[in-house]
């Protein structure tokens, strides 16, 4: 488990999502979601978030998501940005196809 620092990415504007990551040493991953479309898309938002967190190897963190109707690729972008900031690392660009 790599060390992380508190980090935030995204905004509270319409169509965006604010992702906050906090260290949670010795504890499991905890994800909190507030969303205006939680009943329709809550599971999809959480699935995308978990997928990105797994790619970054973040397992001991509290992740807060405040969603204002962000589309899937916006969610992915914001979680990636928050993870880079939390791990103080640069994004690894590679072709995904």
């Amino acid at each position: 488990m790599q060390s992380i620092q508190p980090a935030v990415a995204g905004t509270l504007e319409s169509g965006d999502i604010q992702v906050s990551i906090y260290p949670n040493p010795g504890q499991d991953l905890e994800i909190q979601l507030q969303s205006i479309v939680r009943s329709q898309f809550g599971e999809a938002i959480l699935a995308t978030t978990k997928e990105v967190l797994k790619e970054f190897g973040l397992t001991q963190a509290v992740v807060s998501l405040v969603d204002k109707g962000a589309l899937d690729w916006v969610i992915r972008s914001r979680v990636q940005a928050a993870c880079c900031r939390a791990t103080q690392s640069q994004f690894t660009w590679k072709d995904e196809d």
Binding site: G10, G15, D16, S77, A81, C84, F91, D95
Partner: protein, 301 residues
């Protein structure tokens, strides 16, 4: 025949704003410029880069020419910007404040390396160069011909006037020479010329006068900073009935030449070469984009 990409309007949209990026796809601009430079705060460069990458790579509008404007060529962000921008596979990357042909060659080499790494055919991604200083203007032709990727140059009037110690005015007399000099370089190099932004988004009459001048000078299009400018600018770059008729005559002459297996084609005593044929195709594409029905012509573009 090369594919025709209209460049009447190119709309800047900030890479920091998801909602603006989503909405921008629904306006009538020909070219959509996702911006990583001036509209993105320093603290948000990393997040904007990811957002623009995902938007262009997986959700780009299919009917638009998509451009990513990267940060300054000597900024700390340029290498990361190019990694993201090339892999996103836009039609073009827009370079700000180009002043020397060597800068274009350096960036083109970087793009080639990333294209190869990403499995993108070499030379796929085109370049637009923003000319925003007296030095860039002096070197405009050399910049336009520095690499085959360069397909357009655009005048950045605010920075240009600052470099000249000139005052920016609405009638634009202070950029009249720059407009003509840039156009001359573009025409000589065979690349498109894009006019400067008209900054006052509430002055539609001023925008009309500015765009009329740009069109009459010979520009191929204009950069827009607000969606309300798009239809106004598009209207000025819609060809007249006379221009459409002439384009149809040119293309008919080309077709007839092909049928007769002629190597060279003339019309009204003048040779029709490839640039004239391409301009005729562009005229028809502009007309079709404006909703003008074209009858009797070849269905190019």
């Amino acid at each position: 025949m090369a594919q025709i990409h209209l460049k009447r309007t190119s709309l800047y949209v900030s890479g920091a704003s998801p909602i603006n990026m989503v909405q921008a796809a629904f306006y009538n601009e020909d070219c959509l410029v996702y911006d990583l430079e001036d509209s993105v705060p320093i603290s948000e460069k990393d997040a904007a880069r990811l957002l623009v990458y995902h938007t262009v790579r997986y959700h780009r509008p299919a009917d638009k020419y998509v451009i990513i404007r990267v940060n300054g060529l000597y900024s700390e962000f340029i290498d990361e910007d190019l990694e993201a921008a090339v892999r996103a596979r836009p039609n073009a990357i827009r370079l700000p404040k180009v002043e020397h042909p060597d800068e274009v060659r350096r960036i083109a080499d970087q793009i080639s390396r990333i294209e190869k790494d990403a499995g993108i055919p070499d030379g796929t991604i085109e370049l637009w160069c923003n000319i925003e200083s007296y030095l860039g203007l002096i070197n405009a032709y050399e910049i336009a011909t520095a690499d085959p990727r360069v397909v357009a140059m655009a005048l950045g009037a605010e920075d240009f006037t600052a470099s000249m110690k000139a005052r920016r005015t609405k009638d634009g007399l202070e950029i009249f020479y720059a407009r003509n000099a840039l156009l001359t370089a573009c025409r000589r190099a065979g690349v498109d010329a894009i006019d400067a932004v008209f900054s006052d988004i509430n002055d539609i009459e001023g925008l009309k006068e500015d765009t009329l001048l740009a069109r009459n000078l010979g520009f191929d299009g204009k950069t827009c900073v607000h969606p309300r400018q798009i239809d106004v600018v598009n209207a000025f770059f819609t060809p007249s009935a006379k221009e459409i008729r002439q384009a149809l005559r040119i293309l008919e002459a080309v077709e007839e030449g092909k049928r007769q297996k002629k190597g060279a084609v003339t019309l009204d005593g003048s040779m029709i070469d490839k640039p004239i044929e391409l301009r005729a195709l562009t005229t028809l594409a502009q007309a079709r984009a404006a909703g003008i029905p074209i009858e009797g012509g070849p269905n190019h573009g």
